[in-house]
């Protein structure tokens, strides 16, 4: 892709008087996509550490059989808030942050299309999570019905934090929907001349599709939490059989949101990996069109598989079979993506800087999560897997070694562009290897204990699971500690410590984001580049 840049370089000249406010006001009132991207990413990092600390409480309690540290009710609060914080606070905002930073740079736009909405959608988030986390300190504690908050445990039988929980989920939803609208409008209208649909980088494509998913399902989540609220406080009976409702209907509505939600957390990571692999293989992405089609098929299928979370609820056999076949079908486009990545590497000229290492780990470990997902689709076997640690293993492989590894790869890949300095490669390699070993110590044995019969969401277990749980807890603590290395690496770059980065940063890098200086100036592409 050859590019001709005008404007940007002139802007470079008056970098220092580009009218950016100083101090706190710069961040509070910012409408600049780069500042807001930074805010999102820092927020997500904070949430990763908060959610991680809660996970450490879980792993400490599960280190040995018996109750050592926490009451079971508090344990349930830990799993619930850990899940909510990781999903809505760590993974989703990280992707929005990356979208903010990178989409305008990748499509040659000067900023996001709706900068004020952008500011608003970010600043709602700290309020939402402030409310959610404050419930930990209330009498009766935080929500404790799991991140899936099944009724009636979350309605009739829940504590008074439910009202706060519902409010905070509404805020998260508003923030996500505004972010998604912004992404769609930006991609639709602000592509530089010549940046046709089939030239869009895959990260942009996957985010576009993700944004449509978000707009489709976040209102469903808003609906279901509102029904929880009115069931608990205003005497409705949506989910109460005594009043003519149905607790299982809650699950249908929740998972109609929840399944697309898991793809919301993985599609942008697919986009990231599809950008990184060609760079370090020094070879164009294999099967670009089929990657786009596969992403769109996954998004479509994600709307018709929600029942696979509910095989034990007593659905009619025909419905069970439908959901089983549809779920198995998702393996096909997912497989196509993995094959395309491998084909991209094939006969390339690879080097193994840290973004590449995380991407390779992503491919292998995400695929392991995909395999266990396929196993979970086979209903008779799912009756044995459902609600055990096998499921916990499955979704951590796709979320931690999938989504989170994708995010970490993206940070290492683009941080030289953001800060103008290279991260410390040796530190980052240590971070990678520590994470890789510990994450597998943590999550791999979960397959075994799950198959052997250990249910999820329990604070204490039978003696046969003791040794593996101790091992997993050690893995968990090591994984938690390893992320401090990541924090250190990021802080170094933010403080400008390290080698100066070149504009292109990576030898094999392609795309508009590498045409602007490093660090990317406050305003880029004031005059659109022309993509030939």
């Amino acid at each position: 892709m050859s590019t001709q840049i005008t404007g940007t370089l002139d802007a470079h000249g008056h970098l220092d008087h580009d009218h950016k406010p100083r101090g706190l006001a710069r961040w509070l009132f910012s409408t600049n996509h780069k500042d807001i991207g930074t805010l999102y990413l820092l927020f997500s990092l904070t949430m990763l550490f908060i959610g991680g600390s809660l996970a450490m409480v879980i792993r400490a309690e599960l280190f040995q059989p018996g109750l050592q540290f926490v009451d079971p009710h508090f344990f349930n609060q830990m799993t619930t808030v850990h899940g909510l914080v990781m999903v809505f606070g760590a993974v989703m905002p990280a992707f929005v942050g990356l979208a903010n930073w990178m989409i305008p740079l990748m499509i040659g736009a000067p900023d996001m299309a709706l900068p004020r909405i952008n500011n608003w959608s970010f600043w709602i988030l700290p309020c939402a999570f402030g409310i959610l986390l404050s419930t930990l300190f209330m009498e009766g504690g935080a929500p404790a019905a799991g991140w899936t908050f099944y009724a009636p445990l979350s309605t009739t039988y829940s504590g008074d934090s439910t009202a706060f929980f519902v409010l905070s989920v509404h805020l998260m939803g508003v923030s996500s929907i505004m972010g998604a609208i912004n992404v769609i409008v930006t991609i639709w209208n602000m592509r530089a001349p010549g940046m046709t649909w089939m030239k869009l980088p895959l990260f942009v494509w996957t985010w576009l599709i993700t944004a449509f998913l978000l707009i489709a399902v976040m209102p469903v989540l808003a609906g279901v939490v509102t029904m929880v609220l009115t069931d608990k406080y205003f005497g409705t009976s949506f989910f109460d059989a005594a009043g003519g409702g149905d607790p299982v209907m809650f699950q249908h509505i929740f998972w109609f949101f929840g399944h697309p939600e898991v793809y919301i957390m993985i599609l942008p990571a697919f986009g990231i990996v599809s950008s990184i692999i060609p760079t370090f293989a020094r070879k164009p992405l294999f099967g670009y069109e089929s990657m786009v089609v596969a992403t769109a098929s996954i998004a479509f299928l994600s709307f018709i598989v929600w029942g696979h979370h509910m095989f034990t609820t007593g659905m009619p056999v025909v419905a069970e079979l439908f959901f089983m076949y549809a779920t198995m079908l998702i393996a096909v486009p997912t497989g196509v993506k993995v094959f395309n990545w491998v084909a991209t590497m094939w006969r390339g000229s690879m080097s193994f800087e840290v973004p590449m290492m995380f991407s390779l780990a992503f491919i292998v470990l995400f695929t392991i999560g995909g395999f266990s997902g396929l196993m979970l689709a086979i209903i008779p076997a799912d009756f044995q897997y459902q609600d055990t640690y096998f499921v916990v293993a499955h979704f951590h492989y796709v979320l931690v070694t999938g989504a989170v590894f994708g995010i970490i790869a993206a940070v290492y890949y683009w941080i030289p562009k953001w800060t103008g300095v290279m991260y410390n490669e040796r530190l980052a390699q240590v971070h990678f290897w520590c994470s890789l070993v510990s994450v597998n110590m943590l999550f791999f044995p979960m397959h075994f204990v799950g198959l052997a019969g250990m249910p999820r969401r329990i604070p204490d277990y039978a003696l046969q699971f003791a040794d593996l749980n101790a091992f997993m807890s050690v893995g968990g603590f090591l994984f938690g500690l390893s992320q401090l290395l990541f924090l250190w690496g990021v802080v170094r770059c933010m403080r400008g410590i390290g080698e100066r980065a070149t504009d292109r940063v990576w030898e094999g890098a392609q795309g508009l984001e590498w045409e602007v200086p490093s660090p990317a100036p406050y305003h880029t592409f004031d005059t659109p580049p022309v993509v030939k």
Binding site: A144, A242, V332
Partner: protein, 388 residues
């Protein structure tokens, strides 16, 4: 042994023998335990064996695919590296290959779907059953009612709280044993009807490959035909509140003859208990307090806590509470009939009149609630007759 079983289940079966010897237990442990510490059980029914086979088949297919894909990837990583001076090829797509690697997985998936569908249809066919049990979950116990016999009872965790709190050594059946297991005959098609009183629970016995949700207000069905006598363990598999982890399932499977003998004995025992309850005389304060503490520790402690202080904001304290220190009528009423729309259940049918009298007396006189009054079995009988 044709049907391999979990080591702990064997251990428990040995324990059931009066002559169970510790060395035997230790010796039997590792051999059988291997399998189900890392993998799914083959279980004790034809269907559980089929489920196990299905699980292993998909697992091997996944491993095969993984081997092919990852070998290619690692081969490429080793050979196609810049450090070796490789010049990158510039190909970037092939329709033929894309079609190929879409079509092959579809065929593999169809091959997986066929046996899965067959097994599923068999698992969901509850017709022609020979015995029916209604299983009801409530926070945090199971209730079993035999529809073909006048037998029903609650089944709760038998592990003493001291073991959970690490104050006593943990027994081998830690968190698995219950006070009264469900008893079933071998060789008969047993139909289970599942429902719940409060929140959703899920009744899971891995050895029967049964996991089915117990949903309040609805009835689910499933079934099992168990081949071999023995004690089988399971758990509640749906988060159901604070003590979700402490809600085990145990099923004692007997030969049909032993089962009939057990059923007859249960019916006789129930008659006897009824007669005793009707004629229960007054108890002394010491008797009431001793029995009361016992009942409290098994039926109430999960919510109201050993200290009687409850969990602020979730379960109320009984220590110094208005009801526990007020007039006995209201206290008896809430314990007998519960409070609708809260976790406080009705205990009138769960406990005997002596136990009810004792636990109420206990609550009125423990933790510094020094009311000094006694509630007698006769008061309970009167309150039950009066009704809600």
């Amino acid at each position: 042994m044709r049907h391999r079983s979990s080591g702990l289940r064997q251990a428990k079966t040995y324990l059931n023998h009066p002559l169970a010897a510790a060395p035997l237990l230790a010796a039997s442990f590792p051999a059988g335990a291997q399998e189900t510490r890392f993998n799914m059980t083959r279980g004790a029914t034809e269907l559980s064996q089929q489920v196990f086979d299905l699980h292993m088949t998909i697992f091997y297919i996944c491993v095969a695919i993984a081997l092919v894909v990852f070998s290619l990837m690692f081969w490429s990583i080793v050979h196609h590296r810049k450090a070796k001076g490789v010049v990158p090829a510039q190909f970037h797509g092939s329709m033929k290959i894309e079609i190929l690697w879409t079509a092959i997985p579809v065929l593999i998936l169809v091959a997986m779907a066929v046996p899965a569908t067959r097994t599923l249809i068999a698992m969901e066919d509850t017709s022609a059953s020979e015995l029916t049990v209604l299983v009801t979950g409530s926070q945090w116990k199971w209730h079993y009612k035999y529809l073909d016999y006048p037998i029903e009872f609650y089944s709760v965790l038998a592990t003493p709280r001291a073991q959970i709190a690490n104050e006593a050594e943990k027994s081998p059946d830690y968190l698995m044993a219950v006070d009264k297991p469900l008893v079933l005959p071998t060789g008969k098609k047993v139909r289970f009807l599942l429902t719940a009183d409060d929140v959703i629970h899920s009744w899971w016995v891995p050895d029967f490959a049964i996991k089915k949700d117990a949903v309040p207000g609805f009835i689910n069905e499933t079934w099992a035909r168990i081949d071999k006598p023995g004690l089988y363990y399971g758990k509640c598999a749906e988060l159901c509140g604070r003590d979700h982890g402490f809600m085990p399932v145990a099923v004692d499977v007997k030969t049909p003859a032993d089962f009939e003998a057990w059923a007859a004995q249960q019916v006789a025992l129930a008659e006897q208990a009824k007669a005793e309850a009707a004629s229960a005389g007054p108890m002394t304060m010491d008797e009431l307090m001793a029995l009361g503490q016992q009942v409290y520790d098994s039926a109430c402690v999960a919510c109201h806590q050993a200290s009687g202080e409850g969990l602020p904001g979730v379960f109320p304290a009984l220590k110094g509470s208005a009801i526990a220190t007020g007039e006995p009528g209201a206290h008896i009423h809430i314990v007998l009939f519960g409070k609708a729309g809260t976790a406080m259940q009705a205990f009138a049918k769960q406990l005997g009149v002596k136990e009810l009298a004792a636990v109420i007396t206990y609550e009125r006189n423990a933790w510094g609630n020094a009311k000094g009054d006694m509630v007698q079995p006769a008061d309970i009988v009167a309150a039950i007759e009066k009704g809600e």
